[in-house]
Structure formats: structure tokens, C-alpha cells
Symmetry: C2
Subunit: 474 residues, 2 copies
């Protein structure tokens, strides 16, 4: 048997190499579909992307490809379950929707006309996440068409709402659990460690609690000469309230906020300290001269992924036109969000924040606090079989072992699957950490694209060597 699957692996890898040119043409076709989930006018394009995927799944030999209508955009599922009942089943998750392209004039080429340059492919979605979804299709094809079968059972779960909050997935997981039944979920929506070919396994994700706050004063804008000094200005009050949410050590002041934060172990801190990190290159990539102290007592890398944050995401109210308008505005508002780490509970944080923000409001104003959305943080056990096998597959493909990283953002499906079905996720992704996700001129290194498909082909081989129980173990 071992000889058989090893021959299967070689055949699958060979199939990938032989179809490289055709695959690139297909990638180009897929990236040209402007599947921007935030743009209502592009809804037909998002649907076209879903159909493209379903057709391709069928073509490569997956079965039961289906497009499911949801409250948002379609979810695409399919499966191939012929590896044997004793073999593990892997649920493959990616998303096919992409971020909006604003500001469009900062793109060197139109975002949906991929260009191949300097060993990169530039296009919206090339890294986040259509490029990675496409790699999964091709890795599965290499097994099913090249080797004739796969070493594991495969299920596919592709959504079109990740960039707008993944609203429909909870309902879908509840409604159609049989389509997602698996021993492990493989999520590819993260990045490699650097642009030097160092692969990564992402073992932590931050959660989120997102709020909108509004401070109301006089029932209409009033003249700042006539009333200034006599009436509490809602914009002055709002900035004081927001400023008070962090102390001078960069810590969030909401009482109880840190109660459930799992502190970094000495081993984790040592691992963080040993991660190669070019802080200057990182700063240059976003155009800041200094990174700031942030929360005191933690390194930049720790603060970026292992510590909770509080950010003002938007501010508005009063006069913002040309010149001057001498008013005390009737109200001022802000979007505020906190990133959460294990074991913070986003619903508890939501409650604490709302109570705190109301409590600190002076009696001269009225305050609205709305919870916009929340998501739980996640952490994978580094000693698990899945992590070990993932590391072997990555080392096989890239010639060096992966580094282990936490990611600052959140991927809602990870928390939703675990909470609703108990299914654990392994996060292996291939985008560049500097790849301009959510920004103009998004790009993906071609080396990651080819290496990533190689790694995925190897990963199914590795998973096929494990028992279902081993893969399910935390």
C-alpha cells in the first residue's frame, strides 16, 4: 500500500507540473471575475464566480457540486468520498468573494486584469482568497485526475461572504451539517511567513467585537459663539470618552477586559522572540516611521497577534467641508472595535463595553452604543497530529519547515465550525504577508502558488497516513 500511495503522490505532483500552463490560464479566467461581495451591483459577478467553481469541481471529478442560496451570496459545496470509510475526511474551506477595489486610481493595472510580473501575479483576490481556492481545486484535480483517486475523503466548502462578515455561514452550518461532516477542516486564507519561501502554520486567530457609538447633545447644531462654553459639545465629549478607553500604557480600560486573556507562556514568548522579523521592512510596507509602543510590556509581534487591541475605525459628525462652520454639532459618532485573544468571550466583551461606554458618559449627553458584530478568537494545539503532518507536507514542498504564527485577524468560519459542530481547523495558507490584501495592487508570489499546490498534494498524502481519531484529536 505504501508503495502505491507514494507512486500516487509522484503521479499527482507530475500531473501538476504538466498542467502548469493550462492552470495559469484558468487562474487568469477565475481572477477576472469581479466577485466583490460588498458591491450590490456586482451580485451577478459573485454568482458567476460560484458557478465557475461548481463547474470546475465537477470537471475535476468531485461529486454533488451544489450552489446553495443564502441570505447573502451563494455557498458552494461538493465532495469526493471514495478513499474509504476508515480514511479521514477533510473539509476544505476557502472564500471566493474579494474586497472592494477602492481607491481604484491607486491600482497600477485594473484589479481584474491579472498581470504576471517579477514572479508575482497582481490582481484582486490573487492572495485573498481566490488564488488559494484555485490552488485547492488544482491539488484535488492532481489526485483525482492524475493519480485516479485521493488518499483522503474530500469535502469542499466555499463561501462568498467572508469579506462582509460571513453572516450566512452559521445558518448554513446549522441547516446542512451533513455536507460539512469531516474529521478536520483545512482553511487556506492565511499567509506564508515571509517572501523568502518560509511556510507557516497559523495556530492562533484573534476574535472581534465591533461597535458603533454616538453621542448626542443639543437637538440641533448650535452656534459655537452663542453657546460655546455653556453646553457640553458632543464632539468634545466623544473624543474624551474614546481617548479614555486606553490608558497611558496602551491598555484597554474597560473593566474586566483582560480577565480572560490567556497570557503567553514563557515558551511562546521565546518562540515569538526567535521568529525572524524585519521590523523596518514591515514599517516601510505600510509607510510608518515608527510602530509605536502599543500595549507596554509586549513586543511588536506579540501585540500584533497575541494581545487584544482597541481601534477607532471611523469618526464622523459636525462640519467637515471646506473652510469653517462655527457650530457645536448636535452629535458625533465613531466605529470602534476590539480584537480579542483566547480565552476572551466576544459576547462578554460586548456586554462589558456597552455597559462601560454608557457608564462613562457625562449626564450632559445621551449615548447610543450598538453592537455591530462579534467573533470568537481561536487557538490550535501545536502538538496535534494535524499540525505535525501539516509541517511535514510544507517542508516537503518548500524545503524548510514551517514557522508557527498567530494571526491578528479573524476567520469567522473557524469559530463557527468549532462552536456549532466541534470540528477543528488547521490553518495553512500561501499568500504573501506583504501582499496588499484589502489594499490596491494585491499580489501573490508565483513561487507560493506553485509551492502551495505541491504542499496541498503532499498534505492529503500525509493525512491519508493518519487515522481519523488522530486527526480529530485536539
Amino acid at each position: 500500500m505504501t508503495t502505491n500511495t507514494e507512486r500516487g503522490l509522484d503521479t499527482a505532483l507530475e500531473y501538476l507540473r504538466e498542467h502548469d500552463e493550462r492552470n495559469l490560464k484558468q487562474l487568469d479566467e477565475f481572477l477576472r471575475i469581479p466577485s466583490v461581495s460588498a458591491d450590490h451591483e456586482l451580485r451577478p459577478e459573485v454568482e458567476r464566480a460560484a458557478r465557475w467553481i461548481a463547474d470546475e469541481l465537477t470537471r475535476i471529478g468531485a461529486e454533488h457540486a451544489q450552489i446553495h442560496e443564502t441570505s447573502g451570496h451563494p455557498i458552494v459545496t461538493a465532495d469526493w468520498l471514495h478513499a474509504g470509510a476508515d480514511k479521514p475526511t477533510v473539509l476544505i474551506y476557502c472564500h471566493y468573494d474579494v474586497q472592494p477595489t477602492d481607491p481604484l486610481d491607486e491600482w497600477i493595472r485594473p484589479p481584474f486584469e491579472p498581470r504576471y510580473e517579477d514572479g508575482r501575479v497582481y490582481a484582486r483576490g490573487s492572495g485573498d482568497d481566490k488564488g488559494q481556492l484555485f490552488m485547492h481545486l488544482k491539488a484535488a484535480e492532481a489526485w483525482l485526475q492524475g493519480a485516479g483517486r485521493a488518499p483522503v475523503n474530500l469535502r469542499f466548502f466555499f463561501e462568498g461572504d467572508e469579506e462582509v462578515g460571513s453572516e450566512p455561514i452559521e445558518q448554513f452550518i446549522t441547516a446542512r451539517p451533513e455536507l460539512l461532516a469531516a474529521d478536520i477542516c483545512l482553511v487556506s486564507d492565511t499567509d506564508m511567513y515571509d517572501d523568502e519561501g518560509t511556510p507557516a502554520i497559523t495556530y492562533g486567530l484573534r476574535g472581534i467585537a465591533y461597535f458603533e457609538v454616538k453621542v448626542h447633545g443639543p437637538f440641533q447644531d448650535v452656534h459655537s459663539g452663542q453657546y460655546g462654553g455653556g453646553v457640553d459639545n458632543p464632539a468634545n465629549v466623544l473624543v474624551k470618552m474614546l481617548a479614555s478607553l486606553q490608558d497611558d500604557k496602551g491598555r484597554v480600560t474597560v473593566p474586566g477586559f483582560y480577565d480572560d486573556v490567556r497570557e503567553l507562556t514563557d515558551a511562546e514568548r521565546t518562540a515569538y522572540a526567535e521568529l525572524p522579523f524585519d521590523e523596518r521592512a514591515w514599517r516601510d510596507s505600510i509607510g510608518v516611521a515608527e510602530s509605536g509602543d502599543g500595549e507596554h510590556g509586549f513586543t511588536l509581534l506579540e501585540r500584533l497577534s497575541a494581545r487584544p487591541t482597541l481601534d477607532v475605525n471611523g469618526l464622523w459628525g459636525g462640519y467637515s467641508g471646506e473652510g469653517s462652520k462655527t457650530i457645536i454639532p448636535a452629535w458625533a459618532a465613531a466605529k470602534v472595535s476590539t480584537r480579542l485573544v483566547p480565552d476572551q468571550d466576544f459576547q462578554k466583551i460586548e456586554r462589558l463595553f456597552v455597559e462601560h461606554f454608557r457608564r462613562i458618559a457625562p449626564p450632559t449627553v445621551k449615548v447610543d452604543v450598538k453592537v455591530i458584530h462579534g467573533g470568537a478568537p481561536a487557538l490550535t494545539d501545536l502538538d496535534s497530529t494535524a499540525v505535525r503532518l501539516g509541517a511535514q507536507a510544507l517542508e516537503g514542498a518548500f524545503g524548510k519547515p514551517p514557522l508557527f504564527q498567530r494571526m491578528g485577524g479573524s476567520i469567522p468560519v473557524v469559530a463557527a465550525l468549532e462552536k456549532q459542530t466541534g470540528l477543528k481547523s488547521l490553518l495553512i495558507g500561501f499568500a504573501s504577508p506583504n501582499g496588499n490584501f484589502h489594499a490596491p495592487n494585491e499580489w501573490m508570489p508565483m513561487a507560493n502558488y506553485r509551492g502551495g499546490m505541491d504542499a496541498l498534494v503532499r498534505l492529503w498524502q500525509e493525512f491519508g497516513s493518519a487515522s481519523r481519531d488522530e486527526l480529530r484529536a485536539d
Copy 2:
């Protein structure tokens, strides 16, 4: 002579009463012209208002009525200089432009269709300041047409840019000083003390220094999950910086800000304390439950007019749409202004503010501070002859002596005339302190309108009894 002018006064007052109905028709016609200086599309209407005034000046017997083109809207001047060379010359200042009418749907009737109800006239400009300008035309007419001559020499100076900052007046004062040569300027752009017929002389105006500030972080919006905790968020920094501009006693923290503030004398504080003031009615008029502490150690009335302030007039930056966008914004901005009191120098305050705001910026961000506009505070000597005569005229018309008040806002012409020509101003106005200037449903009490014309007729009589030197004395 005394008998003659007293007979003149009676005749002028009688002329007013006889023409009350015709005057109201003319007022209606004048208020119907939508002379909104901030609206470029209404430029022809602003010009129509200027022509209406110039025609009326000529009709009532003033001479040399002229419409002067400026960098903004027209300035209208005229004179009547036949009282004798030994008689004082009074420069009468009002403005004929009005505030915009937004939000239009909160007006009970269209703003340029005056309605007469409950002893009030409702219309944009009824109080601020077209109604008052019209009263001056009719008071002058009463003397020139009714009595055949006036007891003082009169010059008229009416501008069309007061609601947008009075930009053109400095240049006009420099270019045409001969048209404004006078012994005193009478400015009618203020209000009475209450709605119970208590007249007022406004002896203090606050100045202003108005800024736009912008805090820049990363060169574009970045993902708050990926970068949160590692990069100083410009919106977080801005709210901290703005919040720090006032301490917990409500005092402005810009170093040197209070150095030149003329402190209230005990007599002034006693006078403030004795002013009748219904704080609850005041709060109700703007819909706030509590007025707030403001600057500690000062009463509400003192804070409203005799103390400097700092107000955030507008905030913007980052995401303000529906739902959430998980970004650290590239920048965040605010409009900030300070109201100034004697003897603060607005140019010095501008310098101090700009230096301070740059100094408190952390090294992780870049800061732009723009000075938008400034204006000097003003204070009239309460012991002057002009004030005494003004008080007599007001008592004659309203049956009770005026109260003396400082006003929280600024009237740019007052500072400009004094700075450029040394001419002092006396501020006597007739609007209601609750008259919704700059807000929907602006209104003027008919009692103030009729009493005000009566007072102005008497004022020229009083001024005619004084020497030029007495009126010029500070």
C-alpha cells in the same frame, strides 16, 4: 434749537407710526429675497438684495448710494451729510446676507415666505440681520422724510458676506476709508436681553481662532486585524490629542492660552450675577438636560461670553458607512476652534495652538495643522458717552433701561474697523435671544421691530446732542 429738534423727534416718531402698514409690506418684500451668501447658485439673489437696498436708500433721501463689487458679494454704501460739520457722523453697519436654510424640512413654512403669527415675524433673516438693516432704513427715512433732516450725519455700510466670514471688508476698509469716515459706528447685529422687552447694549464680543487638524498614519487604510496593536491608529491618536486640549477643570491646555485673558472684575461678576436668566428655559431651547460644568469657577453666563472656549466643530476619517469595516484608517481629521476674549490676540493664539498641536503629536504620526480663520475679541467701555446716550434712547423707546451683555460670538467688522481706522463701535441690536439665528424657523418679535425703530430714531436725537469728541472718546 432744543425745541426744534424735539419737535423733529416727535415728527419722526409720528412718521414711523403713520407708515407702519407700508413698512411691513416693504419688510415682507425684502425678506423674500433669498440672499444666502454661502450658496453660489443664489448669487443673483444676493445681488438683487444689494440693489433693493441701494434703491431704497436713494428713495428715503440718502445720497451717493453705491454698490461696490468685492472679492465676495457687493457692499452697499450711501450717506446723508447735511446735519452740519460740527455734528457727529454715525456709520451704520448691518449685513444683508443670511444663513443657509438647511435643514429645510424643519421649517414650518418656507424660509423666504414671511409669516406673521403670535406677535412674531418668521423668516430667514428676520432677526439676523435683514430685519435690523430694514429698521435702520426706516428710522433714517423717518428723520429725512418725516422731519426733513436728521440730527446727525449718517453713513451707511451694508455688507453681504457676514455669514461667510466677512472676508472682503478688510480690503474695502483699506481701499475706501473716505466712505466710512465717522465718529462712531453703530452696529445692529445683536439681540435684546430677553423676550420681555428688555433692551440690551452688547459691550463685549468674543474673537475666534479656527483650525483644521489632520493626523496621518499608514500610507493607506490597513487591516485592523493584521496591523492592530502594532501601528499607532491615527484616529486613536487624534481623539487622544483632541481630548488632551482641555483638562478635567475644563481649561484649555495650550501653554500661554490664558496669559492675556482680561479677568472679570468683581463689579462685572456682580453684574453678571444680577442679570435675570432662566437657565432651564435656555436649556430647553436647545434640548439639553444639563448644561455641564464647562470651565470650573465660572457661572454659565460668564462662560457663555466672558471666557474663552475650545470646541471640536467637526470630526471625520475612516469608515462611517453601514455595518463594519475592519480598518485602521490612514488618517483622521477635525475642525477645532477657540472663542477668544479680551485681551487675547487671535494671531498669537493661532501660533500657540499650531505649535502645541504639533508638539503633542507622537512620533508615530504626521500632523497637519491649518489656520482657517481668525478674528479679534472686542470690548466697549461702559462709561463712554455713546453707551450713556444709547441707554437713554433705549429706555425712551422700551420704557426700561438696557442691560449690558457680552456676546459669545464675533462680528468681524467691529475688530476690522477699530484695527484699521481706530473707529469704535456701539452694539445695539433688537433680535430675540431665542430667535433661531442659523437654525430653522428664525423669528423676530414685532414688538422689538417697532420698538427698535423707535429707539434708533431717538438715538440719532441723542447723538445729535453730543459733540464729535464726546462720541469718539473711548
